[in-house]
Amino acid sequence: MTPVSGSLAAARELLREFPVVDGHNDLPWALREQVRYDLGARDIATHQGAHLHTDLPRLREGGVGAQYWSVYVRSDLPDAVPATLEQIDCVRQLIARYGSELRPALTAADMEAGRREGRIASLMGAEGGHSIANSLGTLRQLYELGVRYLTLTHNDNVAWADSATDEPGVGGLSEFGREVVREMNRLGMLVDLSHVAATTMRHALDTSVAPVIFSHSSSRAVCDHPRNIPDDVLERLPVNGGMAMVTFVPKFVLQAAVDWTAAADDNMRAHGLHHLATTPEAMKVHRAFEETNPRPVATVATVADHLDHMREVAGIDHLGIGGDYDGTAFTPEGLDDVSGYPNLVAELLDRRWSRTDLAKLTWGNAVRVLGAAEDVAQEVQARRGPSNATLEQLDG
């Protein structure tokens, strides 16, 4: 279902006033992998459609007003800290290089200032507890460098928290994991529960005194994938005050794509290959599979279905958007790259979402949540000093 042009014009109009805060974009990792941070080789002031989902012209077209740039690094590195710092340096170089378009942002007030100035407020989020190497001191230094959320895990467990896509380990959050959450509350760093196991989500909600976020996750009731959020967790967001930022990744949001991906992975394994292998031989096997099994395509409506459901369960004050651009190979039709957000807003207008509701979805909720985390931090700091607890002390 393509939205009528009237809705699209209205969507663009709305986004001019209440632009999108996107919870997760992997441009830094793409720049690391593609050109080893040679920003001149991928000048995002010009159209980079051949290589990237993200560049400044398309962010403008998409009505993006604030972006959490992910400083993700792989969780299978022996030491994730050095690479995380390089990712942070990359974001800072981007902000310095494109200062007329990007604005450094550390607070909710900075986000509002960015909106007033017409620059994209640029925040940072770290994706996975491995980036702090079991150290609260390292966590504090990441905060000082500007990191404003930490996803507790990526695809693999960490010693103190279970991932959604790994075997159960500590059964949610360990005691040290809870201490990480408390220290994040003290700092004003948002606890991000995308990628974590449902058990971890529940433990984090039990522990956190600040709003939590899901930087890029959708609804498990709509599409049963472990990366999505179960309803019992969504139901707790109103009390917690946090938000779920819907993601677009087809293999998480469309049941047919989930099934297709599982079948494709099985096919790879049946050929004795790793399911994520990208060698020429593996690609050949994969292409042959794709020829006989066409890849199901998600659309704007697929994502809107998630939002409709999440809104019913969590309420309009607890929703946002986290596209995961440049962090996923495939994207839905109509949300092909960062210029696509107006299509989603138009679809929601057609579904009778009010302007007030859409302003909360795109802008208001995310600004409120970061501001609330700042308020909590101020309060906690009056009571609590920096924690130097260690994994060994708390988890033995």
């Binding site: 941070y37 030491d79 390089e86 340096d89 990359c90 800072r92 390292t138 230094q141 460098l145």
Partner: protein
């Protein structure tokens, strides 16, 4: 309200210039200045001696240090504190050599907090461990606001001093903390790191600086991170002195002519360092300088003679596991050393340079160099794999 002006000036109509107030009075003739030697130009303006020349040397030392405190180039506190379950530096801490009361008695005005790591950690996970050390120093400084204050440049060091706080400068850290990445250097600088020791990596080894190593030095110049060459190889020292646009430091080096310790510098190197405006900070350790105050003073005499009075400074090296000379057992003992120098005829200006002035000059020059370099140079994207293949 009464008119407070002596004479009223009539202002011009809009659009016209004010009439001149009065013809400028010619300045009185100044007496011709006597020829100054180079020395006096470098010294801080210190017109009259601070101390009574006839007073006891120790009293004079206190008087001079009160005006020109010690900028101490190396403290092992971060690692020492890491192993104390509880401490209060403001109240005093007998298990370590440094606390606020003793720094006040010793007239310490600034302290470089070393972030060096023990051998095992230095190889394994140097970046994370360095972040933890940075975090620890900042936490300590913030939790002792009456005694300590973090300082990121020469101006902030002076500010801290003027507020009666000991300025806390972050560094030196080990070169391994960069994990061969200029991006990590930039991040560590933004977290406050101001000194990096150029040794113990592939790009700053016994063989000297590689091409990447030279790029590290240029990026350090651009950021304002000082190069520490204590413990670096002769080849590295020679090259770094030549290519660095900012003065270099040796945070823990004495004279090899007097004591053959590997970190001590031969006369040729001291002279080279002096000619380049670098700074040799003499450590107060029995191992490097000798067991008595007189031994330390011998080293200071020698370094001053070879490198010059603008190129010598002090490095307490307390809490780093070294044994210290007699009468220099902790951070309160600097007056004993200065008294010995006074007995040897050191002038007040030279002492002022030794304790405070030289470190200030180096920090300030590094700031200027960085500002100038930032006008010319973009952040470097060089990678070790490209430059050193």
């Amino acid at each position: 309200m009464a008119d407070l002006q002596d004479e009223l000036h009539i202002t011009a109509e809009v659009g016209e210039l004010d009439p001149p107030v009065s013809p400028p009075t010619p300045l009185p003739e100044l007496p011709e200045l006597p020829d100054l030697d180079e020395h006096a130009l470098v010294a801080e303006p210190c017109l009259a001696p601070l101390s009574d020349q006839d007073a006891a040397p120790l009293d004079r030392a206190h008087t001079i240090l009160a005006a020109h405190p010690v900028a101490d180039g190396y403290s092992g506190l971060p690692w020492a504190l890491r192993h104390l379950p509880w401490y209060d530096l403001e109240l005093g801490e007998s298990t370590i050599d440094t606390d606020v009361p003793r720094m006040r008695r010793g007239h310490v005005g600034a302290l470089f907090w070393a972030l060096h790591l023990p051998e095992g950690l230095a190889v394994d996970r140097a970046v994370g461990a360095t972040l933890e050390q940075l975090d620890l120093v900042k936490t300590v400084a913030r939790s002792h606001p009456e005694g300590l204050r973090l300082a990121g440049d020469a101006g902030q060091v002076t500010d801290a001093r003027n507020c009666g706080r000991v300025a806390v400068v972050l560094g030196p850290a080990a070169a391994a903390a960069l994990d061969d990445s200029l991006g990590i250097l930039r991040v560590l600088h933004s977290l406050g790191l101001r000194v990096l020791t150029l040794s113990g990596t592939s790009w700053a080894s016994e063989a000297g600086l590689t091409r990447f190593g030279e790029e590290v030095v240029r990026e350090m110049n651009r950021l304002g991170v000082l190069a520490d060459l204590s413990g670096a190889s002769d080849a590295t020292i020679h090259r770094a002195v030549r290519i660095s646009k900012a003065p270099v430091l040796c945070t823990r080096s004495a004279a090899r002519a007097l004591r053959p310790h590997p970190a001590n510098l031969p006369d040729a190197t001291l002279a080279e360092l002096g000619a380049a405006g670098g700074l040799c900070l003499v450590p107060l350790t029995a191992e490097q300088t000798g067991p008595t105050v007189r031994d330390v003073a011998d080293h200071l005499d020698h370094v001053r003679a070879v490198a010059g009075p603008e190129c010598v400074g002090l490095s307490g090296t307390y809490d780093s596991g070294s044994a210290h000379p007699q009468e220099l057992g902790d951070a309160s003992c600097y007056p004993n050393l200065i008294a010995e120098l006074l007995r040897r005829g050191w002038t007040e200006p030279d002492i002022a340079l030794l304790t405070w002035g030289n470190v200030q000059r180096v920090l300030r020059t590094a700031d200027f160099t960085a500002k100038a370099a930032q006008q010319r140079r973009e952040p470097s994207t060089a990678r070790i794999a490209e430059l050193d293949g």
